[in-house]
Symmetry: D2
Subunit: 251 residues, 4 copies
């Protein structure tokens, strides 16, 4: 790492990959579907990105959005995509898989790692859905993952900073703990100082208006989301009590 740190930028287009490198990214995580948190990119995208950037390109191997509990067929797809990504110039691979009770799926990881090698492999933010992060970290180290990407099992790296710090301390360099999730120019300093991380992951994206002059406002291609008609949010006595106790303890 030239500067003593490495910034990994996750991208889902050639333009983003080129911009990331121009801005100083030390590595690209290549995905499709960032709206779902990142899924396996097409090999066409990998081919063209490899022609356009020199920094290492780590390829996401994730067959769909949602959880990380995979069927046998989905594992077949992941293995096939890992092989293809290696074939088409990936410099590293990124995946994650859990058991239904929130442990690392050791068996599946070993099978996939065998396909991925000799490339370095990152265990992605499936880690943030584990039941016991400290135990899970040791599992990843024993499996030989080079990196783990995490927001500290919370909604963002800043929110999960206390756990990221503990993970980095427990790792002692046996695995690179890479903070990621909502990193911005406004919170990066706190996260780096709070976690002593040497690598971090971000998307650093801005929305750009379409070049389309003609627009049809009545049509949407993608799915729409709406609040559930069969769920209501209520102030939770237990949550209020917990907050109260924390405040009493401090003030």
């Amino acid at each position: 790492m030239a500067d003593g740190f490495l910034m990994e930028v996750c991208v889902d287009s050639v333009e983003s990959a080129v911009n990331a490198e121009r801005g100083g990214a030390g590595r690209i995580e290549l995905c499709a579907g960032l709206i779902e948190g990142g899924t396996t990119p097409s090999m066409g995208l990998l081919q063209v990105v490899k022609q356009c950037v020199r920094v290492p390109v780590f390829v996401m191997i994730r067959p769909r959005g949602g959880d990380f509990l995979y069927s046998d067929r989905e594992v077949d797809v992941m293995k096939a995509d890992a092989r293809l990504a290696k074939l088409h110039g990936a410099d590293g691979l990124v995946f994650g898989a859990l058991t239904e009770d929130g442990r690392i799926d050791t068996e599946l990881c070993m099978a996939l790692l065998a396909v991925c090698r000799p490339l370095p492999v990152t265990f992605h933010r499936a880690f943030d859905m584990v039941h016991d992060p400290m135990v899970a970290l040791e599992t990843l180290i024993s499996l030989g993952f080079e990196r783990v990407l995490t927001s500290g099992c919370d909604s963002s790296a800043l929110e999960g900073l206390p756990l990221i710090k503990r993970l980095a301390e427990q790792a002692k360099g046996r695995i690179v703990v890479v903070p990621g999730g909502g990193i911005t120019e406004r919170n990066l300093q706190r996260i780096l100082e709070g976690s002593s991380a040497s690598e971090f992951h971000c998307s650093a994206r801005s929305a750009r208006d379409s070049g389309m002059k003609f627009r049809n406002p009545h049509v949407a291609m993608g799915a729409s989301l709406s609040a559930s008609e069969y769920s209501v949010k209520v102030a939770d006595v237990a949550k209020v009590r917990t907050l109260n106790a924390i405040a009493k303890n401090i003030l």
Copy 2:
């Protein structure tokens, strides 16, 4: 077509492809990211789906969500993915591309069609974003597309039914006009009777709860959407007047 009609089901997993065939689908449209309306699937998914189903598999070639106005780099990616899809057993390809003023991007289509042939090619619901659908239909026919998928330039095939009917009448069999977009068991009969279509496109999906027993409610991988803080919806005098005039004219 064995039954005098063909049902195309768009899927983004092996399980969905197998279920679609078991339910009687005559063709699969293989995508990733259906949450964005469907993007290019991974070749690993295509490989495993081809091992599991016998019906034809048409592969989506769409580098990202959003509009259909593509940069040169994105076209490179689309060409690379079309070649790879043919290599990995696609039975047909699906794409769409527009100019900024809402016309069919003839030049790009010709370049992509050249890569796609000899496979049959469907122009997808980019069609629903065109400025003049009747002119656009003739363009697709002259370019040699076998099919066009459309919701009649409206939010769903039922809403766009009047235009779908006119498109089918104008096509006179020179291109298959395939209704798609929000087709359900509750509106299919109206759409088929109203459009005299011989093929239709649907996803026929149900939501299935995850098998994960352990769940972390604080973490989301994907993007979140929220109402814009800088836009307000107001009853529109012109819209109210138009509705009023329509009602006056009928009643």
Copy 3:
């Protein structure tokens, strides 16, 4: 009804109420929170709207978004708001309440109707969540509701048109069946011709960009929605079969 029909426009601001009347609305349904489908408006809004429009103003009485299964406290709130709305010039009231098994909550309706009278009362789209709409219609008639607002128990009035037609036929004028839900200038004619309704309900809104020159893109006041991390959508064999059978039956 001057024109042989009446257009009711739901609004959540004075500006929308004024625009609706100027466009020809025959009645206003005054709500707050149209993003949640409409909740009880503030009495300040009712006061100012009554100063600005002459058409009748029907006031929504709905304590929150979500379902229509209310606690005793919520019923207290609904009764209090119905009294206040009458006090502040409402020309009619709009509410809906169901039992957990999807029937009309007759007891609650009778209690609320007693508070609402002598004003006319509309049972709103809670009706679209009932288990048996034909039975529910008779219940509303026996309770004395003047109107029922419905999208035909489907995602929009156009989708639910077949049921709206059957409801209107069964009603035989004993209650006004008012189609509502996604009515636009593109589908109104089909809905009126298909339902022989003499009243319809719409919002006829357009999005207007904020007048704010200075904008902070980092802050959102409202809630954000994201796809569930613990749910996956899969092509449903039963749904595919049903669609297949419908198509086979027609073509």
Copy 4:
């Protein structure tokens, strides 16, 4: 303040108000539409809440979601609602209003404050949309607001903590700076220790499944959100460079 601090819980139902008090809240902020960030509650809700809790109830005066740039009519509505809230037992009022260039709308605030007094008044998170927060703070102090609610002009109180701290230091007790926005039991300690705040604002809510046994999955009352078809997110060279420079500076 009995415990040296005060927890304000924002609620939009009687049940939430009762739960908040039972959990130890020192004050209630009564809203409707928390999905939009909180709007003016109905007076029926205020009446019943005042019958059920003893802690002070501050009432939100906000005519709609979206920005804080109000028309004359909307100001009329806000004044009417402030009068009604005082009439119906409010113990304090909460509002916010800005000019188009992101300054405090002093004129409107003075007019509304005159209606609100003698009740204490909080300027709500409209503050987080101001152009210059330090200048805006002095404006609020000079106008006589007792409190300002803020997430430090960022997406949450934790993200905006550095600014909240500076605001509290500048305030020197002339106005209570109340952190709010995404406060949870996992970040409260950091926020209190980082801001030396003596009051904080939270919702402390949990989602509760509806009691409805019968459910219609096809119908939604509220609006749905979908990603824009005419916007694409691209890695931003300037953002990547800024992050790079921050990291270089620290590591």
